[in-house]
């Protein structure tokens, strides 16, 4: 049984009198420890997929299983706990709490989960050992995203979900972030799901899931994923 199983997952939004299927019968598997890149154009249903996988939204039908647990039918509270203990989220715009320092932002996440990692360690791991006490406003975009990643990692999640983590970053910084994510996956064996519209990122993935119009267009397994350093786009 795969670590993550999507089985015929549908998500239908009721827009007035029209039902729009954002996700229309997606099925795929993700194995533990993989770096997965979900790629698709805008409106293909990536965000919906992310929402459902991240426990931010439930599916209309089908089943989503993570680590043997069916999350598609989770209640609000179960979803919250799921997000709290199992998921690490990295946002496109970092979403750091402006009023907290880097360390505090990490601790903000770690304080609420069961087996958190040391904030300082994680920040050192993301290369920010020297900016622990800086406020987000005092950090560059890349640094902020590192703090965000550290925050996600500190929770020691089963699954690290990254939504366009490089979207707000310049090329170089973006690459560094991708490298960080890849290294995290490789070094810690953590399952990382990276959602992007940029097909270039597929090169570094262990598994690529291409989606189009709410369906899985293609799942590719990459036996030899490229290093993020080598990536060009």
């Amino acid at each position: 049984m795969a670590f993550v199983e999507f089985r015929d997952v549908r998500k239908i939004y009721h827009m007035g009198e029209v039902d729009v299927a954002a996700v229309d019968g997606m099925s795929f598997d993700i194995e533990q420890g993989e770096l997965v890149v979900v790629v698709g154009p805008s409106g293909s249903g990536k965000t919906t997929l992310l929402n459902m996988l991240g426990g931010m939204d439930s599916c209309t039908s089908g089943s989503i299983v993570l680590d043997g647990r069916e999350i598609g039918s989770f209640s609000e509270k179960q979803l919250t706990e799921y997000r709290r203990y199992d998921i690490g989220f990295v946002f496109q715009f970092y979403n750091l709490v402006q009023n907290l320092t880097a360390r505090e932002n990490v601790e903000l996440a770690s304080q609420i989960c069961e087996h958190p990692l040391s904030a300082d360690d994680v920040l050192a791991q993301v290369g920010l050992a020297h900016r622990l006490d800086n406020f987000p406003a005092q950090l560059s975009g890349g640094e902020q995203q590192r703090v965000a990643i550290a925050r996600a990692l500190a929770k020691n999640p089963k699954l690290l979900l990254c939504d366009e983590p490089t979207g707000a970053l310049d090329y170089k910084t973006g690459k560094a972030i991708l490298k960080l994510l890849q290294d995290t996956s490789r070094n810690t064996g953590r399952t990382v799901v990276l959602i992007t519209h940029n097909s270039a990122f597929t090169a570094i993935a262990d598994r690529v899931i291409r989606i189009r119009e709410g369906r899985v267009a293609e799942v590719l397994l990459n036996d030899r994923p490229a290093s993020a350093d080598e990536l060009e786009w």
Partner: protein, 1160 residues
């Protein structure tokens, strides 16, 4: 045509209704409160004006110290500007209604009242233009006959009354006989009077507890006929058209008062003259009566005196007579005694004379007896001789007689004859014997001759015997004669011897007899004389006895007459003395009456406007108080409105940075862009202002007047919006909002468009001071850290929230504190300070028996003298105070704790000065050591120039009424007289029965004037409290509204501004509770801080309101209770929690998807 820009404005409103409403609501609240409160006073004034005009409340009241006459009334009518004049009578009495005593002001009910008609709640129509102070009959009917009355509908009474209850007048402010004819009235109806719009301030009186508690209208004829009008009510032409209390009104009334005062001296003099003349006439009458009476009495007395003199004379005569009688009696007695002595002498003389005479006589008789005896013996001899003689003689006589019988002269003859007769008879017998021997015996004649011969024979025998006898006789006779001769001889001898003796004896006897007779006669005469004198003596004695008795009678008659006379005399003298003292009294009285007339001072006309009417003044001043509060209170709302607008609009501008940038880029002018926000804010503010002003200026005055309706009977005028105030209020509200908006917008507009197009850099996190305290900071969790940092990050919001919440708490605290303060009046005054609950007032100091009887009725009691004065000090000189002089200050303090308010230090009532109550000291501006001036008051309650001074030694906590306490020594020193303890302060059981028992028993004590209970006072404050409760409700509602608006706005801004953060937290797996806490913690802290600030602010606000709302006689409690602090705080928190609960939904609705969106 609406431009796209305009459309955008409209849409921005509809799109952000929450924000729009927030601004509108706070502006509504601010403007509404300001307008509503500010309009309350004009509304109250307008209501009063309408009511006063509708009921023809007097504009001017003229009171004369000696009453008014019809002429005065006529003179008043003639005064230019005076429209209508209604003369009236009034007097203050103590009356019992349902067993409770009240100080009642009794008014004469105008006749026009009955025919008046109520047009609406504030207008009474009457045909009689001179019917003023028109009454509104609320219940029942008008009095139609004597003994009926109407009383106040708005009554503050212990016991509710009903139609049919009886009002018994027990005592008057002056002699009831001079004022009221009828003393018992049946309540037939309840009225409202514009003259008494305030049920707790009807005026002062010298009766009872000093304040009028009830008014009563009775038919005019219930008053004593001779009683002059006590007052005249006037209305002024054109005054009704002016607003009561306005400057024009005051000016107009002032002019008329001036004109009335011009005629016043003349009228006063006329009244004086009239009264003088009347009094003089009366006095003259009285004098004449007196003189007549005196003459009468004098003549009666003179008569009595004459009579007495006569009686005296008579008595004297009687006495003289008695003396004479006594003398006579004495004389008589002496005479009688003498007579008796003489008599006794006479008797004894007589007795001795008698004895002597008897002896003489006896001797004489003896001699006589001897002589007699010898004579008798002789005589007896003689008699025997005689007897013998007689016998002899008798024998001779017998013989003679025998002879005589034989018709013989003597025996010899008889013998001769007998011898012859024998010889003849013998011769015949021989012849007859011869004849017989011759005749044959057979011849007839023989027998006869034979009988003859026998008879002759017998005869011859007889004759022969007789001749023999005769011969014997002859012999015997011869012897006898001899014997007789002898005897005669003896007799002769005796006779010879006794010759003369019988004569002698007879003479002696006669002599003796005569002597005896003489003696007897003499004795008898003496006896008779003695008897006569005895009789005389006896009759003299009995006469004397009679005389004596008569004398005694006369004497006792005299004595009783004398006694009668003496008592009559004493009576007379008493009567005389009495009459004289009466005359003297009457004379003195007349003299004093004369003096009184001579001294009669001209009455003073007191011409008063409505400002002397307690009700009207009280109402107007309450309106003014409301206005004072209204000027300060809404400040908070405006401040908060400004802050809310500022934060909201700042947020709005920030949200629309990009849009602003776009507009700028598109070439819209700065002014144009600014206009959008200004218009937005203006619309919100105007909408809010209009709604707030319209709603609250209708609601607030109504609510406040409703609250005041508990005390005031002024019917509310139809609601009206006072335009200037409304505009001012709206201007303030809108202006503040626009100012804030403009400030918010201009700051942003200064930025370059390009810069504006970029998402605004999130406001940098900053270290706060707290972080410097590392050990503490380390212990703080992140959400707390965020909270703390946020608090200081958004200072506008901090201020808005803190001020808003502080305002809310302050309002709550003010309301609750106000309640405390007024509750404290009762609780502290009657719970802590004062433990007496009844006061018995006597007409004069009762004697010990009554005192102890009174004391026995109560559980505890203390005696004091109670007096009224006007207290004067540097700040004020018109405060009416009660002066209490406790007989035993220590005992008194057991019933009335004297202590300082702060610290409860006991205050000592010593012999060096007075203790005054706190409020009084504050009002007068006096402190311990200062001199308190106490002025006597005149009839009208104004201070006179008679002023006493005393040093203040202590200031004591007290809430109800102004008191001055003075020890007996100080009193004596200050006033020069000893206090007269006429008031008994008593503590009795709290139960109704105990009160009733005490009331009836105490009232029955001799000399009791009034029995009053604290319940009355407590009740009136409870009434006041009810009106405060309504104010508290208004404040709580306002506070809640304020809290809701501020907190809603804050939360709203916090949420909208931090949607991303919230979404991120959610994504991070924060539980909804944690998310709520993360956001609401800030609000909670702000609320707590705001509430804490509000508690401080509230103390000041409450203080201001208390001081503003306080009335003269009362000191409100100065403490806000801990529970009120707690409650105000807790209520604020409750509001916060309610807002948070409400906003939680909004928070829950924040989608996690927001976290994925880019910064805008």
């Amino acid at each position: 045509m609406a431009s796209s820009f305009d459309k955008e404005i409209v849409r921005s409103i509809t799109g952000t209704l929450g924000r729009f409403v927030a601004i509108a609501a706070i502006v509504a609240l601010g403007c509404g409160f300001y307008a509503g409160l500010r309009m309350t006073a004009p509304d109250m004034d307008a209501s009063a004006d309408r009511y006063y005009d509708g009921t023809a409340l007097m504009d001017v009241r003229v009171v004369s110290t000696l009453g008014l006459t019809d002429d005065d009334v006529e003179a008043l009518r003639q005064v230019e500007g005076v429209d209508a004049v209604m003369p009236a009578r009034e007097t203050d009495v103590m009356a019992t209604i349902d067993g409770e005593q009240y100080a009642v002001r009794v008014h004469s009910l105008p006749d026009a009242a009955e025919s008046s008609a109520q047009e609406n709640n504030a207008t009474i129509a009457s045909d009689d233009a001179n019917y003023l102070n028109r009454l509104t009959l609320v219940e029942g009917s008008w009095p139609t006959s004597a003994g009926e009355c109407v009383i106040s509908y708005d009554r503050v009474m212990n016991v509710p009354t009903k139609v049919g209850d009886v009002v018994t007048v027990t005592e008057g402010v002056t002699d009831l006989d001079d004022t009221l004819v009828t003393r018992t009235y049946t309540i037939v109806g309840y009225v409202r009077s514009p003259y008494y719009v305030c049920s707790t301030a009807m005026g002062t009186t010298s009766l009872g507890s000093g304040t009028v508690q009830q008014f009563m209208y009775v038919p005019n004829d219930s008053f004593v006929d001779s009683m002059p009008y006590t007052e005249a009510f006037c209305t002024v032409e054109g005054a009704a058209d002016l607003k009561d209390g306005s400057a024009e009104y005051d000016e107009l009334i002032g002019e008329v008062i001036g004109r009335i005062e011009v005629i016043a001296p003349e009228r006063e003099q006329a009244r004086l003259d009239g009264l003088r003349a009347e009094a003089q006439a009366e006095l003259d009458n009285a004098r004449a009566d007196f003189e007549a009476e005196r003459a009468d009495a004098t003549s009666q007395l003179d008569d009595a005196a004459n009579e007495l003199a006569r009686a005296r004379e008579q008595l004297d005569a009687a006495q003289q007579q008695l003396a004479v009688s006594a003398l006579q009696i004495e004389q008589t007695e002496r005479q009688l005694a003498q007579g008796r002595l003489l008599y006794e002498q006479g008797v004894s003389q007589l007795a001795s004379q008698e004895v002597a005479a008897k002896r003489q006589l006896a001797e004489a008789e003896d001699q006589l007896g001897q002589a007699q005896t010898s004579y008798d013996a002789a005589m007896a001899q003689r008699a025997s001789l005689q007897g013998a003689l007689d016998q002899v003689n008798a024998a001779i006589a017998a013989i003679d007689k025998q002879m005589a019988d034989m018709h013989m002269s003597s025996v010899d003859e008889a013998l001769d004859q007998a011898l012859e007769a024998l010889a003849t008879t013998q011769g015949m017998l021989e012849e007859a014997q011869a004849a017989l021997a011759a005749v044959d015996p057979d011849d007839p004649g023989y027998a006869a001759l034979k009988a003859r011969v026998e008879t002759l024979q017998i005869e011859v025998d007889k004759l022969t015997l007789a001749v023999a006898d005769l011969q014997a006789l002859q012999v015997q006779r011869a012897a006898l004669v001899e014997q007789a001769a002898q005897l005669e001889q003896s007799i002769a001898a005796i006779d010879e011897r006794t010759a003369g003796v019988p004569e002698q004896l007879a003479a002696a006897r006669a002599k003796l007899y005569a002597q005896r007779n003489q003696v007897n006669v003499q004795l008898a005469a003496a006896q008779a004389q003695l008897a006569a004198s005895k009789v005389q003596l006896d009759s003299g004695t009995s006469q004397l006895e009679d005389g004596k008795q008569r004398y005694e009678q006369g004497r006792s008659d005299y004595e009783s007459g004398r006694a009668d006379y003496e008592s009559g005399r004493a009576d007379y003298e008493n009567a005389l003395a009495e009459a004289e003292s009466k005359f003297a009294d009457a004379e003195a009285e007349l003299a004093s009456a004369q003096r009184a007339i001579d001294d009669l001072e001209a009455p003073t006309w007191l011409v008063m406007d409505r400002s002397k009417n307690y009700g009207a003044v009280s109402f107007a001043s309450d309106a003014e108080r409301v206005d004072h509060i209204a000027r300060v209170f809404p400040f908070i709302f405006f401040l908060v409105a400004a802050l809310v607008s500022l934060t909201t609009m700042t947020r709005m501008v920030e949200e629309e940075r990009v849009l602003i940038g776009t507009y700028k880029a598109l070439g819209y002018s700065r002014a144009r862009i600014t206009s959008k926000y200004v218009i937005y804010a203006a619309i919100a503010a105007i909408v809010g202002a209009v709604v707030g002003i319209v709603v609250l200026s209708l609601v607030l005055p109504a609510v406040i007047m409703e609250a005041y309706a508990i005390i005031y009977s002024v019917p509310k005028a139809p609601p009206c919006v006072d335009l200037p105030i409304a505009l001012l209020s709206a201007g303030l509200g809108v202006g503040v909002t626009l100012g804030a908006t403009w400030a918010a917008v201009t700051a942003t507009l200064r930025e370059q468009p390009a810069h504006l197009m970029l998402p605004r850099a999130p406001k940098a996190g900053k270290r706060i001071l707290l972080e410097r305290v590392t050990p503490l900071w380390r212990r703080v969790s992140f959400s707390w850290k965020v909270t703390f940092r946020n608090l200081f990050r958004y200072k506008k919001r901090l201020f808005m929230t803190v001020i808003g919440i502080a305002g809310c708490t302050a309002l709550l605290l003010t309301g609750l504190g106000l309640q405390n303060s007024i509750n404290d009046i009762i609780d502290k005054q009657y719970g802590e300070l004062v433990s007496y609950n009844a006061v018995v007032v006597f007409d004069e100091q009762p004697d010990d028996a009554v005192r102890s009887e009174t004391e026995d009725l109560a559980q505890k009691s203390a005696w004091a003298q109670e007096l009224s004065y006007i207290a004067q000090g540097p700040n004020r000189s018109d405060i009416m105070v009660s002066l209490a002089v406790p007989q035993d200050p220590e005992a008194f303090q057991e019933l009335w704790t004297m202590r300082e308010r702060a610290g409860h230090e006991p205050v000592n009532l010593g012999s060096d000065g007075v203790v005054v109550t706190e409020k009084l000291a504050n009002e007068l501006g006096l402190k311990p050591g200062d001199e308190l001036r106490l002025a006597e008051q005149d009839q009208m309650g104004n201070a006179t120039s008679q002023v006493y001074e005393a040093t203040i030694t202590g200031i004591m906590e007290n809430y109800v009424d102004n008191w001055v306490f003075m020890g007996p020594e100080v009193y004596k020193r200050t006033f020069g007289v000893a206090p007269e303890y006429t008031s008994c302060f008593a503590h009795i059981d709290d139960s109704d029965e105990a009160h009733e028992t005490f009331g009836s028993q105490a009232s029955a004590l001799p000399g009791v004037r009034t029995v009053s209970f604290n319940d009355e006072v407590i009740d009136s404050y409870k009434t006041m409290l009810r009106s405060v409760n309504m104010v508290v409700v208004v404040l709580v509602v306002a506070a809640a509204a304020l809290a809701f608006i501020v907190l809603y706005n804050l939360t709203n801004i916090n949420i909208t501004e931090r949607v991303r953060e919230i979404a991120t937290l959610k994504v991070l797996g924060f539980m909804s509770g944690e998310v709520n806490a993360y956001i609401f913690r800030e609000i909670t802290i702000l609320s707590i801080v705001g509430a804490a600030v509000g508690l401080v602010l509230g103390v000041f606000l409450e203080g201001f309101v208390i001081v503003t709302a306080e009335v003269d006689q009362v000191m409100f409690g100065r403490d806000i209770h801990a529970t009120s602090f707690v409650l105000a705080f807790a209520l604020t928190m409750v509001f916060t929690v309610i807002v948070m609960t409400f906003m939680r939904r909004k928070l829950a609705k924040v989608s996690m998807v927001e976290s994925l969106k880019s910064n805008e």
